[in-house]
Symmetry: none
Subunit: 221 residues, 4 copies
DNA sequence: CATGAATGAGTCTTCATTCAT
DNA sequence: CATGAATGAAGACTCATTCAT
């Protein structure tokens, strides 16, 4: 990962500029890759095409990224990070009521799926079924995402003073929720044109999730 | 028919055997592909390896399958068909109560995921992010699967005399359920070693799904 | 080459029929090859396609023809034979005057080029630039054609009591005439649509040839 | 144009050398292809062989040429260009008399056929009967060649104040002449060993052509 | 740092030909 | 004789990656 060093005062100007340009190049290349991977598919995109679109040489791509897989991995991480932050931020807005939970799916659909079709393409399609390395990174990302959700559910349940029917429940809930997000995104944004009413999908998705969670609470007798 | 030597039917023995061998070859190749695709990944498997494992020539592979993609598509369809039949059969065993719905996830985990790890690998991983043709077929398969579930939910809701809060609900439920199946399979069988207690996962998954469905029923006022 | 035996009286009927069918098959296959070679090109046509069009098995093609080249060679010979016969017949109609020579080009254009576009395609294009064997046969055919023309010119010159400026002249004339036929055919029937007035082309071509021949006569001083 | 291409000032030496090497590589590969195509035939030559002879990798071949056909097309064009220039130069030496026309065939035989047997092989044999693209380019080349000759004949006829019997005559003459060149080259240099006295062939060929042309002049009444 | 020419292993795919039935 | 499944060698082409300049 390229370091995001803030320009220290004792750093010569040239170095600063070079650093900024470096950062720029890195991002330019990554954006080009994102565009092409989502448009043509990872396997159908060549390094040369990426270099062309980014207006750099193929060698430059290899200066900033270890190899083609690395490009995909970096993208995945970026997207994963973005998604986790988005969901996390949305969660913090809630009042830790299950009801407050309601608008997270909306944010997911509106800000993530709708706003960034390339991202869902890469995150849910192009990064699947590639090399071992990519798969491993993908797994770790999903695990983190699942943990985030686990934490959120835990917080809520604590706040609500409720317990789950088993220690395992929370994890399972998180896994289910991730699955729902994934398939809803694919179904309505990759396979359909995303023209369905987002509000509707979000509401019912939230209901479904809540219903699911509730059903795993230990009935308080 | 001119030939008089009918052993049992009007089909000569030779033809029968040849037909069987043909069917065998086709399946032998398909099984070899399944094994390798799931073990090494689609992209990392060469036609030659498949031919070797199936003990045929590369040409034979191309006699039975249009190309490499075709091999994957045929596998996908076979697996998809198998899964739909399995779920369908399990659904028919239920008493159309939501509770009867309970053991379907178990069947999925036990008979599909546990019994056929290669199948989930191909269905949920290796067939993703490949060519346009593969993606199209995959989509159609998932749409069928979703429709199956929609039908099932519809039947149950009718039997129960309940209505959903919107016309759209049933589809959304189906999409969510598919997503849950997918991610649970990946999470516990591709990424973990499948050693978790299946019974537990199945039960809670079923609970989650039921809770989700229930929460989209129109409250009966 | 399949023998064209006439049915001897002592030949069993079955054999006769078989012979006729054999001859038929041979021709059916050859016609299929002619059609496809001229339409798609020799290299772009597979034996299977020929077999399909002829409604026989690929094995049958190999029963009647040694290999793919053989098919082309047989076609070349057939076409060459046809052309030589056509030109020969036309020559015999002349009064051995150079003027009588006039309508041969017309016959070539009308009956050969116009009537059989597939034949010129194969004879002047598809049979060129293939294997050594094909090239050798093609050469021999052209040599024969050239000899035919040499003979014709010789006859005429004798009849007219004229001599050529060198012993070599007649051959050269023949070579030139063959070249003219070839290129005129290609130019107006392969590369253009053959819509130019045949009569015109024929007349001027004849004039050109005659002028050429005349100019190689020893001036009678 | 920004570059003031002074040979050494603003162009770094490295660039110059690289440019020369690039040009060299391109030509080395092209020469290797020419050699092999003419010796073994286009279809019988593999890219690997070309690369080996040129002492480059197969990839390098594809860096400089789109594909195998492209190699042939580039060769054809080079040869066609060479031939047209040769004939053009020879024509300019004439005094626009028909007699001056005499030594063009000699130049063709001596400098083109005799000096470059590989070129006639490729131009008149190996480039025939290949793909559609090759055929199209070949056609265009021959059309240009025919036009060159048309122009030449036109000039001469104007200079001589003679008219042809029809507007179409000039084109036909050009077509015939091209045909003669082609077949003479094939006959005496591809099919025979080129040992015939070139002088003789040239003279009589010229005579034949002139006779042909003359016979299409309108008789001056 | 940047370039982009060069590499060459890797793969899919084709198809003429054969031969057991 | 006819069939058509099976062979397997052959070859075009791609492209991630490297490295001299």
């Amino acid at each position: 990962m390229i370091k995001t060093n803030k320009p220290d005062t004792d750093m010569p100007r040239r170095s600063i500029r070079r650093l900024r340009e470096k950062k720029n190049r890195y991002n330019t290349i990554l954006k080009a890759a994102e565009k092409l991977f989502s448009k043509k598919g990872f396997n159908q995109t060549s390094i040369e095409e990426i270099a062309d679109l980014a207006e750099v040489s193929t060698g430059a791509v290899y200066f900033y990224f270890k190899n083609k897989d690395d490009l995909l991995i970096k993208l995945m991480h970026e997207i994963g990070h973005y998604l986790r932050k988005l969901l996390g931020k949305e969660f913090e807005k809630t009042d830790l009521t299950l009801n407050g939970f309601n608008n997270i799916p909306y944010a997911f659909l509106k800000n993530f799926c709708m706003g960034h079709p390339e991202k869902i393409t890469i995150f849910f399609r192009e990064s699947v079924g590639q090399s071992l390395e990519v798969e491993e990174q993908r797994k770790q990302l999903f695990v983190k995402l699942t943990l985030d959700i686990k934490d959120a559910i835990t917080k809520i349940s604590k706040e609500q003073g409720k317990n789950f029917i088993s220690d395992f429940s929370i994890e399972l809930i998180a896994v289910c929720i991730v699955g729902i997000y994934e398939r809803v995104a694919c179904h309505y944004f990759l396979w359909q044109d995303g023209s369905k009413n987002i509000q509707d999908i979000a509401e019912e998705t939230a209901s479904f999730m809540l219903g699911g969670i509730n059903s795993l609470f230990k009935t308080g007798l």
